[in-house]
């Protein structure tokens, strides 16, 4: 299940960070010793004298992930050379080595703004009129969106959510350089659960986790979804018995309009974790007992404030990089990871493309991927299991459309499919939308 694990570790012998007697934290991507930190103490009065680039909310989120090290080793939006390398071979070069990178990290600007950007100059970055940082310009270049979409999504077609993100943006120029940002004041109700790489690395150190596995989600969890995290954690625990951290790590940045908002999703995740519903009835109790570990104590809910690209395999690489920079040693890749189909419902990628892309990387990546397939509740098992291991058994399923109907009517769906705690919160959300 864990692939390329040994080969990847061999490339990082000097970077393996054992900060306590037991904790094992993944090296920072790009060969750095620590996550990048481009945060300064606050807004400098001098910034108001600079020419200004206005960014949108998604740009700002991305810039802050650069600043807090989630996108290490970048210290700003990509220059043209990095951009081209990512499109060409899904990698960036640092110090003579290639490092995996799935989707260019860019800062689009208007033509007027591009004209103000002279190489070597520093410009202010503003959101809704408020200056929050600066960029020292190193590169100004044209944004060939057709090439960008073809390279990142593997298709010339543009009738899919990923292409819509870029084609809906009027800006056609890109600026690369080094940023410095004032701290971000996150006022969302779940902000305290959003942790930076510095914080997640400290958590791993304090917990003494010898391995840690992250699970990406942008959706409320059905019981079969949550099983992917349980199963992935049990795969690595079964392999070596090491003290294991189990991290439910949802994206809470900008999503498609029809995705359930982060605030609602976070409420569902909090009840799953704090009331210990996660994995209840489905986890391998014997295994955890045999290894002397407590699943509930091993679980942490950590929000990751990043946007979605709806980019399938290429985005899966990015999701793995974020988690490596957070210090996790393992990351779960499901079937159809980060998938969003064409407008006619047909698939852009194969079911396993996002898993297989990690076997073809042209750049290094230290985090190990754990592949997990589709799961469902099986009547004969009396719990959730993997579909591929239970083909002869009877699965309990509810379609997405039917589920929304049930929740919208204020009813509770079959708890073999969705836990009542999650269903109640989602029901309130769907009813409030009526």
């Amino acid at each position: 299940m864990t692939r390329r694990a040994d080969a990847r570790n061999e490339t990082y012998p000097h970077k393996k960070m054992s900060v306590s007697s037991t904790a094992n934290i993944s090296p920072v991507h790009g060969g750095l010793d620590q996550p990048v930190n481009r945060l300064v103490e606050g807004v400098d009065a001098e910034w108001s004298k600079l020419a200004v680039i206005d960014v949108n909310e998604i740009d700002r989120t991305t810039l802050y992930r650069i600043a807090d090290g989630t996108l290490s080793p970048l210290n700003g939006p990509m220059t043209e050379s990095d951009y081209k390398n990512v499109l060409r071979k899904a990698a960036i070069e640092r110090n003579g080595k290639w490092w995996a990178w799935g989707i260019p990290t860019i800062l689009p600007v208007s033509n007027d703004e591009a004209e103000k950007c002279k190489i070597g100059d520093t410009l202010a970055l503003a959101y809704e009129g408020q200056i929050f940082g600066t960029i020292k310009v190193r590169s100004v270049y044209e944004w060939d969106k057709a090439n960008f979409i073809q390279s990142c999504y593997g298709t010339d077609r543009t009738d899919h959510p990923g292409a819509g993100l870029w084609l809906g943006d009027d800006r056609t120029m890109l600026v690369g350089g080094e940023i410095s940002l004032a701290p971000f004041k996150d006022e969302r109700e779940f902000a305290h659960r959003v942790l930076s790489p510095l914080e997640t690395r400290k958590l791993i150190e304090e917990k003494g986790w010898e391995q840690s596995i992250g699970f990406q989600t942008r959706n409320p969890l059905h019981r079969a979804h949550e099983y992917a995290l349980v199963y992935g954690a049990e795969v690595i625990l079964r392999e070596n018995g090491r003290k294991t951290g189990v991290i439910l790590n949802p994206l809470v940045g900008q999503l498609k309009g029809d995705d359930v908002p982060a605030a609602t999703r976070m409420k569902t995740y909090v009840t799953l974790v704090e009331d210990h519903f996660l994995g209840m009835g489905d986890k391998d109790e014997e295994l955890w007992k045999e290894k002397g570990q407590n699943f509930d104590e091993a679980v942490a809910l950590i929000g990751l404030d990043m946007r979605m690209y709806y980019g399938g395999p290429r985005e899966a690489i990015m999701h793995a990089i974020y988690r490596q920079n957070c210090g996790f040693t393992h990351f779960i890749i499901g079937r159809k990871h980060a998938d969003a189909p064409f407008a006619d419902g047909t698939a852009i990628w194969g079911d396993f493309d996002a898993q297989e892309v990690f076997d073809k990387l042209e750049g290094e990546l230290a985090i190990k991927t754990v592949n997990v397939g589709f799961a469902a509740f099986f009547e004969e098992l009396g719990r959730v299991g993997l579909v591929k291991e239970n083909k002869d058994k009877t699965s309990v399923n509810i379609s997405g459309t039917k589920m929304r109907e049930i929740l919208g009517a204020g009813e509770l769906p079959d708890e073999r499919v969705m836990r009542p705690s999650t269903a109640k919160i989602l029901g309130e959300y769907y009813q409030s939308k009526k």
């Binding site: 990048v36 990095d82 190193r138």
Partner: protein
Amino acid sequence: MRESKVTVKIPRPLYRKVQQVVEDSGFNSPTDFIVYVLRDLMGDQEEGEVKEYSQDELNDVKRKLKNLGYL
């Protein structure tokens, strides 16, 4: 100790063009500009500036994790 530098020859007309570009920019000299552009082309970005965290900041991190019930 810093590594020594080497001299690279470029055509004089190109050098004059570089001088013109540098005049309107924040670069101190044509050499600074050329090194900058070459580094960019080579993908040789400077590593991210890594700020050392103060004890207070590290204590804040610990407090946050404690408040979440993780420590």
